[in-house]
């Protein structure tokens, strides 16, 4: 399994182990109840201190559910989330609240990530009120410092969110996350709504925060080219499972899973001479869980066994940490043995 690749004695900063969460679909009007579908189905990985771990997947892959389940909002059905060795799913709500300042989240939508009727100062001071209520006189200074750290001017403090540009709002959201001194930030599509000119600077800022403050990031995005810029290691998700994972260079340089390949080929590169392929059929969003591989219905390299055999985790030869869940590689290995 993926998480066993760590051989260091101390536990990794964040360890996610066989996380599952399913949602009940609403009963239909005419009794055509659908069974609950698994948004997350046994997801495991770990993030080391100061590491940027990228999670990439299309809509419906479960990546946002993953972000929320890690924060226990909502709590997962099964599996553990361990932060510095401590199992969050076992904590009561009070202990969990205390544990949270180590684990922060930043969201995509700059429009709704800040409370619309509260000033930037009020928003920034809120985590401090929660975690360091005694330090109240220092709040203005701390907020100013946090804004500086994300490259913003302190004169923004008395403003309301709607008076800021979307890039500024995302920076404030990041400032709010770092102000309590977290060891890891879950960044859920934080640059997706930004223009490229602003996005690039936001990505620089994230790399800088990692470098200078040693903050680890779980960086979630649908955009492979963004992930490729910042992530040390990546996991590709498809319908609630990690289908491929490994160092970013290995996954993007030698993609193994047909889905990863299709994703990479479908990225429109600005260079018109970079090949581009639109071969993958659109997802029909069939929630029915077939016994075999969940990518089988769209896979260009599907063969008979894929329909009824679920692929297991296979380690690839190019890199010891490069894993894939695909029968193509299992059979290849069996044949060679």
């Amino acid at each position: 399994m993926n998480q066993k690749s760590h051989t260091r004695p101390e536990p990794p900063l964040l360890e996610v182990c066989k996380l599952s969460r399913s949602f009940k679909t609403r009963p239909g009007w005419f009794g055509n109840d659908e069974p609950g579908f698994a948004a997350l189905d046994g997801v495991s990985f770990s993030v080391a201190e100061g590491e940027i771990f990228g999670i990439v997947g299309e809509s419906g892959s479960g990546k946002s559910t993953l972000a929320r389940c890690i924060l226990q909002l909502p709590r997962p059905d099964h599996g553990q989330v361990r932060l510095e060795g401590r199992d969050l799913s076992g904590l009561g709500s009070r202990q969990l609240r205390q544990a949270r300042h180590k684990l922060q989240i930043v969201f995509q939508d700059s429009g709704s990530s800040l409370s619309p009727r509260r000033t930037i100062f009020q928003s920034l001071a809120e985590p401090l009120e929660q975690f360091e209520p005694g330090a109240r006189p220092e709040f203005p200074q701390r907020c100013r410092l946090a804004l500086e750290q994300v490259g913003l001017d302190a004169e923004l403090l008395p403003r309301l969110p709607h008076q800021l540009s979307s890039g500024q709002k995302q920076r404030v959201a990041l400032a709010r996350a770092i102000i309590a001194g977290p060891s890891i930030i879950v960044a859920d599509e934080v640059v997706s709504s930004l223009d490229v000119s602003v996005q690039a600077r936001m990505l620089e800022l994230i790399s800088e925060l990692r470098r200078e403050k040693g903050i680890a990031f779980l960086f979630i995005s649908h955009d492979l080219s963004v992930i490729a810029q910042v992530a040390d290691r990546v996991a590709v998700m498809y319908r609630g499972r990690i289908v491929e994972s490994g160092p970013a260079k290995a996954v993007f340089g030698k993609p193994a899973h047909p889905y990863t390949r299709a994703l990479l080929e479908a990225i429109p590169d600005p260079d018109p001479d970079v090949p581009f392929n639109a071969s993958l059929a659109p997802d029909i969003q069939n929630r029915q869980q077939a016994p075999g591989c969940r990518f089988a219905t769209r896979c260009p390299r599907v063969f008979r066994a894929c329909l009824d055999t679920a692929p297991g985790d296979t380690r690839l030869e190019d890199h010891p940490e490069h894993h894939v869940e695909c029968l193509l590689y299992e059979t290849a290995r069996e044949n060679s043995q």
Partner: protein, 285 residues
């Protein structure tokens, strides 16, 4: 150079300074002044005393004449304005608060037991015929003068409650609310600090609508004898006028219905303008 031709018909409407809204505001302010003069005792204190003769014509003493019993119609109209405002404000404020609280709680715990209970309560209240409810309540409260207000508050919160519930359900999944949870704020604090303040625009508009509805209802109930018991109201004046109109005396009728019409129209004009203001989707595409 060619003159640029307009692609869409240039028919500008002044964006700011909504004149209708301002007119409405002025009308409401005049009525508010009248009500204040009654509350402070400046005028309208002699509304109950029988001073003049029957059906006196307007004069320097009785500006709007007198009624069948010889009471001053002007004083009664002034006092009725105060009654209308008292009813409208009390019902609007309390029912909005009730609606915000119950709607907020229902939305926050939506699809849970509390939500089911509040929705059930709302369903029950909405399905009782209103006048029957008032009559029953008046009977149950043994002629308590607040029976009418209680009935209105108990039934009028449902509209506000439904809207607030919907808005809270929407806000509950907004990212700033989840961020607040991620920081570890207690649920109740999130509801109070981040959710309810963002339903304020609904409350303002709903309170204005309830204000108008409450005054109308008060007039009708008073007319039917179910409303104001030991005071005076446009409804009671209208009830008196049913006997007077047959005798060719229109004083009570014109004054009471005219004032009610003006106030409600002014208030509606103002409410529309407020709604345009607080609705963020109002202006641009």
């Amino acid at each position: 150079m060619n003159r640029a031709a307009a692609i869409n018909s240039p028919n500008p409407r002044p964006a700011t300074n909504d004149p209708v809204g301002i007119a409405g505001l002025l009308i409401v302010l005049v009525f508010l002044l009248i009500a204040v003069s009654a509350w402070t005792g400046l005028s309208g204190q002699n509304w109950a005393s029988i001073e003049g003769g029957r059906w006196e014509a307007p004069s320097a003493q009785y500006w709007l004449g007198t009624n069948r019993l010889g009471q001053d119609i002007f004083a009664r109209a002034v006092q009725s304005t105060a009654t209308a405002f008292e009813t409208g404000l009390l019902v609007a404020v309390v029912s909005s608060m009730l609606g915000a609280l119950l709607g907020g709680v229902a939305g926050w715990f939506s699809n849970g037991f509390v939500d089911e209970l509040i929705l059930w309560l709302k369903g029950v209240l909405d399905s009782i015929p209103f006048y029957l409810f008032v009559a029953a309540l008046a009977f149950a409260m043994k002629g308590n003068p607040w029976a009418m207000h209680t009935a209105m508050i108990l039934t009028f919160w449902t509209g506000t409650g439904r809207l607030v519930r919907g808005e809270v359900m929407r806000l509950r999944n907004q990212e700033f609310v989840i961020s607040a949870r991620a920081i570890g704020l207690p649920e109740f604090r999130i509801l109070l600090r981040h959710v309810l303040p963002n339903t304020l625009h609904i409350l303002v508009v709903q309170a204005a609508l309830v204000f108008v509805a409450a005054i109308k209802t008060e007039v009708i109930l008073s007319f039917l004898g179910l409303g104001i018991q030991d005071g005076i109201s446009w409804g009671l004046m209208l009830a008196e006028s049913t006997q007077e109109v047959l005798a060719g005396q229109f004083g009570n009728f014109i004054v009471a219905s005219g004032m009610m019409f003006l106030l409600l129209m002014g208030f509606n004009m103002m409410a529309d303008a407020i709604q345009d203001r607080v609705d963020p989707q109002g202006g641009m595409v």
